[in-house]
Assembly symmetry: C2
Homo-oligomer: 414 residues x 2
């Protein structure tokens, strides 16, 4: 019997009614002949509520204790889900991350899974019991409870699927699947039936919120097929897989548009043109654990240049504080920050093979009167930094320029 891992997010288990509906879905999947493992997030706003409690007793709660505190959110939801399944007459058992054998490093708040010992989950499955695993958490060798940070429950689900050699992993969420663009911005956006995991990774990294890039990457690395679908409908959703068998022809096109408004830009103006300056700046940022996204350096005067980079908006203030003394030390003129830019990206496996894509993108943006501040590319992605206020217009113009509204008509080779 094939093992199937089903993950349900916080909005899918927000209250008792939601939990009962999800329990019915899990029971139906088991009834249909699968060995199901459930992975659940904390109910609705539980995590925020727990953080608020911590802040009441401590302005700066310790990471270790915060992790242990937050872990209770998923423990609560997994026990309630197991109870709801038993009420439906199914044998079910709630497992915390530690009980499910999820071993992590000791980097509290953003632990990485080191290993999963699936022995308990397999034992429960063998006796016909449905394990419901608390997402987002694991245990160190010293029995300390950790949380996995952003995208934690998705990551738990994919990692559990890999450890159990599952047939595939289902991410049940509040959208129908992966779309060619954000349907809130682009009314013509179409749901994709299938997408390559490397394409999905680029979309997720550059703003598509449907699944965390970390979990996408894990599925990609281990070749675990992932299906993103809605918790609230029976539609099949979107299959994310390595897709080694996809014809090259089918790959030569834009598959989707991602946008990300969580962009803060720091510009160091008039940096002297000397070796070692970029190192000084980005080493300081790395020491402060600030993730840098797009870096652009352009020489605008003799022996001087502007150095710009983007970070998440939450990190913007901190990044400026880190960079300012470094800039002063190397003799730069000024450091300034802006929080009014956004990224818009086109993603598709064939982009690097067809030189016309970049031109078509820039042309569409120009026609829509969108000014481009910076451009970065990867093998399968082109990203432009544009004014945040232009994002909806840019997304619609790109969607039309790359014929993405025809997606559902043309179908996708898989």
């Amino acid at each position: 019997m094939a093992i199937l891992v089903q993950k349900y997010g916080g909005s899918s288990v927000a209250d008792a009614d939601c939990i009962q509906r999800v329990a019915e879905r899990i029971a139906e999947t088991a009834q249909a002949g699968h060995q199901v493992v459930g992975v659940v997030s904390a109910m609705g706003d539980t995590t925020d509520d727990l953080i608020a409690m911590a802040r009441q007793v401590s302005a700066d709660p310790s990471d270790r204790e915060l992790d242990l505190l937050l872990s209770t959110g998923e423990v609560i939801s997994c026990t309630l889900m197991a109870m709801a399944l038993r009420t439906l007459g199914r044998s079910a058992v709630a497992l915390t991350g530690p009980q499910a054998g999820i071993r992590t490093d000791a980097a509290f708040r953003q632990a990485q899974i080191v290993e999963i010992n699936p022995e308990r989950m397999l034992r429960e499955l063998e006796r016909g019991t449905i394990p419901i695993v608390a997402g987002f958490q694991g245990m160190t060798d010293d029995m300390d409870v950790t949380t996995l940070g952003r995208g934690g429950s998705d990551t738990t689900a994919v990692a559990v699927a890999v450890a159990l050699k599952a047939e595939y992993c289902e991410i049940n969420t509040d959208v129908e699947g992966v779309y060619t663009a954000d349907p809130r911005l682009v009314p013509d956006a179409c749901k994709l039936d299938v997408i390559r995991s490397d394409e999905m990774l680029e979309l997720a990294r550059h703003g598509a919120r449907v699944m965390h890039p970390r979990a996408v990457e894990l599925g990609d690395v281990y070749g675990m097929p992932v299906v993103v679908r809605s918790s609230f409908s029976t539609e099949p959703g979107t299959l994310i897989s390595r897709g080694d068998d996809m014809a090259l022809e089918a790959r030569q096109r834009v598959r989707g548009i991602a946008h990300d408004v969580d962009v803060g830009r720091v510009t160091i103006a008039a940096v002297p043109d000397r070796p070692g300056i970029a190192y000084a700046v980005f080493d300081a940022l790395a020491q402060a654990a600030i993730n840098v996204d797009i870096i652009v350096q352009d020489v605008d005067r003799e022996k001087e240049s502007n150095l710009s980079f983007t970070v998440g908006r939450d990190d913007l203030e901190k990044a400026v504080a880190v960079v300012r003394p470094v800039a002063a030390e190397v003799g730069a003129q000024d450091v300034h920050a802006s929080a009014d830019l956004a990224k818009i990206s086109i993603v598709g496996s064939g982009l690097s093979l067809g030189p016309g894509y970049a031109a078509r993108m820039f042309g569409a943006l120009a026609e829509a009167d969108v000014n481009i501040t910076s451009i970065t590319t990867s093998e399968i992605r082109i990203t432009c930094l544009i004014p945040e206020s232009d994002v909806p217009r840019a997304a619609r113009s790109l969607h039309a320029a790359f014929d993405l509204d025809e997606e559902s008509l043309t179908g996708v080779a898989s």
Copy 2:
């Protein structure tokens, strides 16, 4: 440096302010030169709230999942307490029952502690860190989380104190200590400075709510001194200890009065006088896991008798249902239940040495016009079953008859 275990109950950690006040007490105790280990209950009504959540998804939630769910209550309070201590500049670490090395059997909802491996707690103490342990919980050999049932957090505290070879264990609660009687009923009731653990055990078993008999017994068995005191004052409270050095003279007196209104009585009327009938009745009750307290059998007719026993009121209906078919089978006339009785007890180590105590008790009750339904005794206790409505009057008359209001004047040998 002496180890001291401090337990704080649910009302002492009901909200962020309470937690901060308790953290200050713990910090002060550490400052005063103790190696402190904290044990905390769940905040205020958390446990009730969690049970209500379970009932929303299941009319009869499974014990294993309910235990895992309930365990989150103490995990939340211990993490918040550790955070509050760190805010005060103390090194502190929150430990779940499993992390504190508390191993139990697999009797969910009422697990017994099998063993405590104090390695982690000792390691934290050695490095100057205050461990804050989640009360009421432990872990089976299969990594399942259990709860210890009634009196669980008190039991955790005493057991941890025993495992750590602590100097003593402090139970911080919402009363000032152990009183000669319930001060709500007997305005003259006095706080005891010291009480023998066997006397405390009888008081606790027969209605004194200040500490659960299970935890008292554990302290008695292992000779661990326990101090009951208020979380909200600096008064010294009551020392409960084996007291082997107490003079016999000092023991020859009544130490306190306990009352318990959680009494339901089942009477099987006109039971034929044949061997094996009591066995049939009480075996059936044991099978149904109903705890029986007082048993009275009195022959009122030739070859027939009435058989009565008391149970907790929650069990009364179930007990009648269990007993009715047995009664019919053995040819008894009728089974009836009453929930209007209560127990009142006098406790003191010397009672069995002085024959006058029983007579004085019955005399005082008669003078107060209290009718006695049944009487039971132990070496150090006499209990009367009386109408519930007479309890306050009975308590006051006994308190006066045994000169308990002079307690604070005469002092206590210790």
